[in-house]
């Protein structure tokens, strides 16, 4: 009887306590939990996951002179998810002897983010390359999947000029690149399905994706089916890529903050479930 009364009292106290917490305290705590490790990193271990390593290995195995289509459609809002991975993978590509076709298909914000944030981060590597010979930029091309289909079928027809207005016939890199069959790899930002449909399925061009962390579970079947050769999903995977290329950047710096924020969310979920469980049991 005493235990029952005490148990009921505890349930009521826990329930009331949780209910009384102003959510704004949680926001404040979140600011502290995320901000503290950014100011003083903890150096938590970062194991490399298979999809990230697979993309790294694929780029490493590219024969010299291979042509890679790199889609840098990074939006301002999704910068933390896509920006660091774009920079890390581009750094890796620029360190190899491969030709890069830059393009933005996912968003019109791509060229602005490329010019203001990606380009400064890879400027030291771009200096060693020649525009038009080692890399070329076509800027934003509207149409998304329709544009992809057109590019895959006939690049010269779909992209008559580069971002600076130079006719494609006058760009040395593009001289022997006519269709998707001339590409060794497509690395895209955002969603993988359109690239698989337009590049991998009809032409057999390997496709890799830099996507949001939330897409990782949904894209694993494509990895298992061999339709994706690699995946960098979110900032955590971007941090792994930075470790692989030995060039720590934005992603590595935020990995501790991210880990702690996840722990914080897990604690909140446990508290929320505890409240629900105790409250529900009392009602029954």
């Amino acid at each position: 009887m005493v235990e029952r009364v005490l148990g009921l009292k505890l349930e009521v106290e826990v329930e009331n306590m949780v209910k009384e917490i102003d959510p704004r305290y949680m926001y404040l705590l979140l600011f502290i939990v995320v901000g503290a490790p950014l100011l003083r990193p903890l150096g938590l271990p970062l194991p490399i996951t298979a999809p990230v390593k697979a993309l790294y290995d694929k780029i490493e195995s590219l024969p010299p002179g291979s042509v890679v289509l790199f889609e840098y459609g990074v939006g301002a809002a999704s910068w933390p998810e896509h920006g660091p991975s774009n920079i890390a993978v581009l750094k890796h590509l620029l360190s190899k002897n491969v030709k890069i076709i830059l393009i933005s298909l996912y968003t019109a914000e791509g060229p602005t983010n490329f010019a203001t944030r990606i380009k400064p981060a890879i400027a030291h590597l771009l200096e060693k390359k020649t525009y038009g010979v080692d890399y070329v930029d076509f800027g934003y091309v509207t149409g998304y999947e329709t544009a992809m289909a057109a590019i895959a079928e006939n690049i010269h027809k779909a992209l008559p000029r580069d971002v600076y207005g130079t006719p494609i016939e006058q760009i040395p890199l593009m001289k022997n690149v006519k269709t998707a069959k001339d590409l060794a790899l497509v690395i895209a930002t955002g969603y993988c399905e359109p690239y698989i449909r337009q590049f991998y399925t009809p032409y057999g061009v390997p496709v890799a994706i830099m996507t949001w962390g939330m897409n990782a579970p949904g894209y694993m079947p494509y990895i298992a089916a061999g339709q994706l050769v690699g995946m960098v999903a979110g900032i955590r995977a971007a941090a792994e890529y930075e470790v692989l290329i030995a060039s720590p950047g934005e992603a590595c710096a935020s990995s501790d903050a991210l880990s702690l924020s996840h722990l914080f969310v897990v604690i909140l979920i446990v508290i929320g479930n505890l409240q629900y469980w105790l409250g529900g049991r009392r009602v029954r």
Binding site: V34, P80, A224
Partner: protein
């Protein structure tokens, strides 16, 4: 200080101020949040229109001037879309919409069956001991696929009702695990966006705005407390 440095400093401070103004919603709805929100909407609309005009010039007008006159057709179809803003002529825009939907669907569907159905079924027919995963992973993939697939088998056959019930129940658990994974991924993504913004706020010159914001927040709290006590 050079002009470029000054411009970078000012733009950095504006970006930080706007971020903090948006975050001020976490305390309560206020005028700073509304200013930032409306600025964003206006700016984004302007950016979108500018890019749309650039696209029409680059993809359409320049090609027409180069002699590809058939590019007039998509431009006419595009203009037809604007009839949606009228009541009597709105039906004209349906033709443009029909072309857009038709082309979009046609382009996607031509490889969809192979890419997203046939290949996925093929990938589920796997040997337990080969491939990139461990035998346990492969077993989970096969059993998870079969059970979650049969969860959506709605035909009621009395002979197999009982075993089907068990399989469907297992399928429901597999789906629940998947939803849990998807939810975890969504939280991860949102946290990443927040972490990215925090990283920016703690960098130069954005951190100059933090004390300013704290002062504003303290004033807001003080005013709220004063209002409440009255």
């Amino acid at each position: 200080m050079e002009f470029a440095e000054l411009a970078s400093l000012i733009s950095g401070l504006i970006a930080a101020a706007l971020t903090l103004m948006i975050y001020s919603l976490l305390y309560r709805e206020n005028i700073l949040y509304r200013i930032a929100e409306h600025t964003f909407v206006g700016l984004y609309a302007g950016y979108g229109v500018a890019f749309a005009v650039k696209n029409i010039l680059d993809q359409g007008v320049s090609r027409i001037s180069a002699g590809n006159y058939w590019f007039i057709i998509p431009i006419i179809l595009g203009i037809m879309l604007f009839t949606r803003f009228t009541v009597k002529q709105a039906w004209i825009s349906r033709y443009s919409m029909a072309v857009m939907v038709g082309v979009g669907t046609g382009v996607s569907v031509r490889a969809l069956i192979e890419a997203q159905i046939v290949r996925q079924i093929k990938a589920s027919v796997i040997s337990l001991t080969t491939g990139p995963y461990t035998p346990i992973d492969n077993l989970i993939i096969v059993l998870g696929f079969i059970s979650s697939f049969l969860y959506f088998f709605f035909t009621d056959i009395s002979v197999i009702r009982k075993p089907m019930g068990y399989i469907a129940k297992a399928g429901r658990y597999v789906l629940m695990f998947t939803f849990g994974g998807a939810f975890g991924g969504t939280v991860l993504s949102r946290m990443t966006l927040f972490t990215g913004r925090m990283q920016y706020l703690l960098s130069y010159p954005a951190y100059y705005m933090i004390p300013v914001f704290i002062v504003i927040l303290c004033i807001m709290i003080y005013m709220d407390v004063k209002k409440k006590s009255k």
